[in-house]
Amino acid sequence: MTQTDRITICIAWIIGFACVIFLMLPIVITVLTSFTSSAVYTLPPPEWSLRWYQSLERRSGLWESVQLSLNLALVSTAVSIILGTLAAIAVTRGEFRGKEAIATFTVSPLMMPGLVLGVALLQFFREIGLRDAYWSLLLGHIVITLPFVMRTLLASMSAFDFALIDAARTLGMSYPRAIFSVLIPNLAPAYLTGGLFAFLASMDNYPISIFLTDARNKTLPIKMLQYLEEQPDPSLAAISTGLILLAIVVLVVASRTVGLNRMVDT
């Protein structure tokens, strides 16, 4: 290793550490401000207090929004996993032209402008006469969650040895049964990470949901932005700290079962 190599590696580490601090900064700020006693955002807080957590109870409609968001995220992720598994098997195992194009197409909603998709869905649902906000939101959220599931499943399935499925079939299992008892348990890490990111993407989605909500069905991000416009006090930071805590719990569970490094494999 030459002198130049050592310097380069050293610089890479310094930038890497700076990057970690930069990434964690918004989280630290949010958690700190949630425990302030002051009604405005001052850092560091003049005194510590839990008043903004207590104030959450008085927020009307907050709990309904949390429930709606959780419901949408769970259902859309579940539907995406079913549709995604079928499509990923077809792309990995099928022999037909345009497989690459299909893979690109199923992952492409990730890179489409969210607001444009929201506008397009709004106009489309209006034209076909779908007026129910829950169903509109659900269909929109499946479009967002499906690419996350597809991306991880496509990557993991291409590394999966399908000879195992053939072996199970030779031993008398039906094809669907072999998929259930051999493929899915083997790909459990991919399901966990793909599903996790899909779930979080749905929970966080603002640009599509804004066009599809009505007065009664408001998802959590929309409710939070509404609070921000009406009354920007640290109660928003308190909600966020709750979400961060939830994310940490999920991450700890996921890293114990899958390992963090496998989670970032795309």
Binding site: T2, I15, L23, G94, V119, Y206, M224, V264, T266
Partner: protein, 276 residues
């Protein structure tokens, strides 16, 4: 065997049918709508859009902000990915947590946290003044620089992860072989390491750029309505102005840029892969 593999192709039908109806068709209808005038097809809304100097300012601003955000993210992400690839144990965990945890924190919260940081009586200004770097509070909130820093922060994981996954699989013996053959560090980097890591760079940049041209929450919380972006124009024309033809036209333009980025980047990654 052939019959079975063909039957397997049918498994893609439910997912594809869903995306065709609830994703591709609505976008296509949006494109058609942007071309539909009072009588027949027209491009008059496009002509009007491009003739308006304000709209052009917004278009250039959006592209400039997205480009600078992507560049800033790339400058931070590239060395970080190399440090990560060498990291082990607790250090690797630290990197992974720093990348995955922020992704699970909503974009509204992150944008809001940055708007707190950038306030003139905010944390950054107080720190700068305590350290004696500046006398007066620096105006940071409502500036493009603040927006680019905030946006790069939010999109950084999407840049680091693709580069990391390529760099990690990079065969360490290749640069070593190059240097044992007498290559200088600079030559080794530009001819061996950089070309091999390019697919990750292209994927990460394309992803970051397409997120940055279409971001809405981050600019509206950090720079506000005074400096509009294409997304803000779209939201305004639909939600406040009720001008759907204009909104559809701007949406179609943004969509065209996004589709171009997707196609161009996958073509580029394909070419880079073929060269190897």
């Amino acid at each position: 065997m052939i019959a079975r593999t063909n039957r397997i192709a049918l498994l893609a039908v439910p997912g594809l049918a869903f995306l065709a109806v609830i994703y591709a068709l609505p976008l296509l209808l949006l494109l058609i709508k942007s071309l539909r005038g009072v009588e027949g097809m027209t491009i008059v809304t496009y002509v009007e859009f491009f003739a308006d100097s304000y709209n052009m300012t917004v278009l250039w601003r959006t592209l400039r902000i997205a480009t600078l955000t992507t560049l800033l993210a790339l400058i931070i992400a590239y060395p970080t990915a190399f440090a990560m690839a060498r990291a082990k144990g607790i250090w690797l965990t630290m990197f992974l947590v720093a990348l995955v945890l922020p992704m699970s924190l909503g974009v509204i919260v992150k944008a809001f946290a940055w708007s707190i940081l950038f306030r003139s009586n905010g944390f950054l200004n107080t720190t700068l003044q305590t350290l004696g770097i500046t006398e007066e509070p620096v105006r940071m909130l409502f500036t493009e620089t603040a927006l680019i820093i905030g946006a790069a922060n939010v999109f950084l994981p999407f840049m680091v992860l693709p580069i990391y996954s390529v760099v990690r699989q990079l065969n360490a013996s290749l640069p070593e072989a190059a240097s044992s053959l007498g290559a200088s560090p600079w030559f080794r980097f530009t001819r061996v390491t950089l070309p091999l890591s390019l697919p990750g760079v292209v994927a990460g940049s394309a992803f970051t750029f397409s997120l940055a041209i279409s971001m809405y929450v981050i600019p509206s919380l950090i720079v506000g309505e005074r400096q509009q972006t294409l997304s803000m124009l779209i939201a305004r024309s639909f939600l406040y102005l009720r001008n759907e033809p204009l909104g559809s036209t701007i949406s179609a333009i943004l969509l065209a840029i996004a589709i171009f980025v997707v196609l161009f980047s996958s073509w580029l990654v394909g070419r880079l892969g073929a060269r190897r």
